[in-house]
């Protein structure tokens, strides 16, 4: 045995096996960086996550197109568009990207590397958070330019954004892991538009008939935009009701995704 090993060592060639996983931290960092690069390189994704929210913020703040109630329009719109930014990245963008990765065997190939599946999911989450930070920074800067004056405790804002991200990620991954890529593409865009219109992002929910309003208020996007608005516009304390709605969606979405996600 020892002799065989010695001969093998002397004859060490280019391809002589030396298998092994990289340290977990390095794998997850590398995967997060790659996922983020892929997302930022994709034109359609940037349209969805950067251009649309920015345009909506600028256009609807500058022109009186929708009655946003008392106070500055930007104070109503900025929290709504922060919510939309989370929706666009954690739900729509992630669903479409993951759907096509599944379709084109990327998830399959990664499944043959030492990167564990949960590591891939951590990397995807990191990628979503990085993009959200860029979105929040951009939208905040523009909102300030438009005369925004936010209030409230930033900790509640961060808590809302994180729970919103968890809820939308679960729903996005559920869609990507169960539907065909084309269906995910169409469905995720449709849901984006519907939630944009009916989730209190630009149009206040009290514009709807009261029965409809109460149902719409249970949507994750409504809870997120309403919670952010309570804190940022009205300076209210911990928005427990909205956080609770988001938490329920997060548990349901992530649970269903974990249960039904098909890797192939």
């Amino acid at each position: 045995m020892a002799k065989a090993a010695a001969t093998r060592d002397e004859a060490r060639g280019t391809f002589t096996p030396a298998p092994g996983a990289a340290p977990l931290r390095r794998m997850i960092l590398a995967q997060s960086a790659l996922e983020t690069r892929m997302l930022l390189r994709n034109g359609e994704q940037l349209l969805l996550t950067v251009i649309i929210p920015t345009l909506l913020l600028v256009v609807f703040s500058s022109a009186d197109l929708v009655d946003t109630g008392d106070g500055d329009r930007v104070d109503f719109l900025a929290p709504g568009l922060l919510a939309l930014a989370v929706l666009s990245t954690a739900f729509t963008g992630q669903a479409i990207a993951t759907g096509f990765e599944r379709r084109y065997g990327v998830l399959k190939l990664l499944g043959s590397t030492p990167l564990p599946r949960w590591g891939l999911m951590v990397a995807k989450t990191a990628c979503v958070l990085v993009v959200e930070i860029l979105q929040v920074a951009l939208l905040t800067a523009i909102a300030f330019g438009l005369g925004w004056s936010p209030h409230g405790n930033p900790v509640w804002v961060i808590l809302l954004l994180l729970l919103g991200t968890a809820a939308f990620s679960g729903l996005g991954l559920l869609m990507a892991g169960t539907l065909r890529a084309e269906a995910t593409l169409a469905g995720a865009n449709l849901v984006f538009i519907l939630l944009l219109l009916g989730g209190g992002v630009i149009v206040p929910l009290d514009k709807f008939p009261s029965g409809v309003e109460h149902t719409l208020a249970l949507l994750p996007i409504s809870a997120l935009s309403d919670g952010l608005r309570d804190v940022l516009r009205d300076g209210s304390g911990l928005p427990l009701g909205d956080l609770a709605i988001l938490a329920v969606w997060a548990v349901l979405g992530l649970g269903a995704a974990a249960r039904f996600f098909r890797w192939e």
């Binding site: 093998r8 004859a11 060639g13 280019t14 391809f15 002589t16 096996p17 030396a18 298998p19 092994g20 996983a21 990289a22 390095r26 794998m27 590398a30 995967q31 790659l34 690069r37 892929m38 390189r41 994709n42 096509f100 990765e101 084109y104 065997g105 990327v106 399959k108 190939l109 499944g111 043959s112 590397t113 030492p114 990167l115 564990p116 192939e264």
Partner: protein, 309 residues
């Protein structure tokens, strides 16, 4: 690490999709340090078999051991040790070849030198082009590079040369030979018999989800082989007279006008007998060739069908 167990051991493997049985009691042993070709027509169950070994699909019945591990239960231990080339896809459509290769290298502890691999497989010309715009052959070569970059003990290559030009095909064959020389076990699928003949130490011919023959290409082609000798000459030569000159068991035919075939154990003695018979009859045997039975012929004999469908 127990290196005496086979690289892959499959016994009575069954895989069904709905009511279709794709793999039907397949048994196969792959020795370490060898190149093993799984040869079979479209839909024979090659990819299904390989993907069960890779842990992607679960067998409905039968036993699977890969590097003495269970591909599903021991996936975490097995993954770093194997390299996988999918039949298609596997790369982010927006990623560049080098970027993807460097990424997968980073997931391993002792990866190969990426620049060397790019050079070896001619991937340098891909430059900044993203995966979805690479040519089919470039995508194929990238997939091969991704399978080996982590310095695995065992690689599974699903149709590694499909769609490659002759130059790229030879580069792939050279790489596979070098893998073997350096002690890597290689399992590849193909429906090209010349590829299996030239490259593999062992061939398993798979049809309808079963191994119908296996062994070294030489053994498969020669075992009880009826080889043949062909020549052309003037039409209407007396086959009865030629047959009398030939040893017992040989056969002689005029296949078509002026085209002759002799079947039997073609050895130097028989060749001399044929040429001297021709000399006696004043016949110049043109285009005289000795034909070895090919894997294609073996497949035909076993199944009565063509390998290429």
């Amino acid at each position: 690490m127990d290196s005496s167990s086979p690289a892959v051991a499959l016994t009575g493997l069954v895989k069904r999709y709905g009511d279709k049985t794709a793999v039907d009691g397949l048994s196969l042993t792959v020795e370490r340090g060898r190149v093993t070709a799984v040869l079979g027509p479209n839909g024979a169950g090659k990819t299904s078999t390989i993907e069960i070994c890779e842990g992607y699909r679960r067998a409905d019945a039968g036993e699977v051991r890969v590097l003495d591990l269970d591909p599903v239960r021991d996936a975490a231990a097995l993954r770093p040790r194997i390299g996988v080339m999918l039949q298609s896809g596997g790369v982010y459509s927006g990623a560049r070849a080098e970027e993807m290769l460097r990424h997968v290298a980073k997931l391993h502890a002792h990866p190969l030198d990426v620049a060397m691999l790019i050079e070896r497989l001619g991937l340098g010309s891909c430059g900044r082009t993203t995966y979805r715009r690479l040519s089919g052959g470039q995508q194929q070569r990238l997939a091969l590079a991704l399978a080996v970059v982590g310095r695995p003990e065992l690689v599974f290559l699903d149709e590694p040369t499909a769609g490659l030009d002759p130059h790229a095909r030879h580069a792939t064959w050279d790489l596979v030979r070098e893998l073997r020389a350096d002690g890597v076990s290689v399992v590849l699928t193909t429906h090209l018999m010349d590829e299996a003949e030239k490259l593999a130490d062992e061939v398993a011919i798979v049809d309808r989800g079963r191994v119908i023959a296996s062994g070294s290409p030489e053994a498969l082609c020669h075992d009880g082989a009826e080889n043949s000798l062909r020549f052309s000459g003037p039409p209407g030569l007396d086959m009865g007279s030629l047959l009398n000159a030939l040893p017992e068991g040989a056969k002689a035919f005029e296949v078509s006008r002026g085209a002759y075939r002799i079947e039997g154990e073609i050895d130097p003695q028989l060749l001399a007998t044929v040429t001297s018979w021709c000399a006696q009859h004043g016949v110049m045997p043109e285009r005289l060739t000795v034909e070895r039975r090919s894997l294609e012929d073996v497949f035909m004999e076993l199944t009565g069908r063509e390998l290429r469908s």
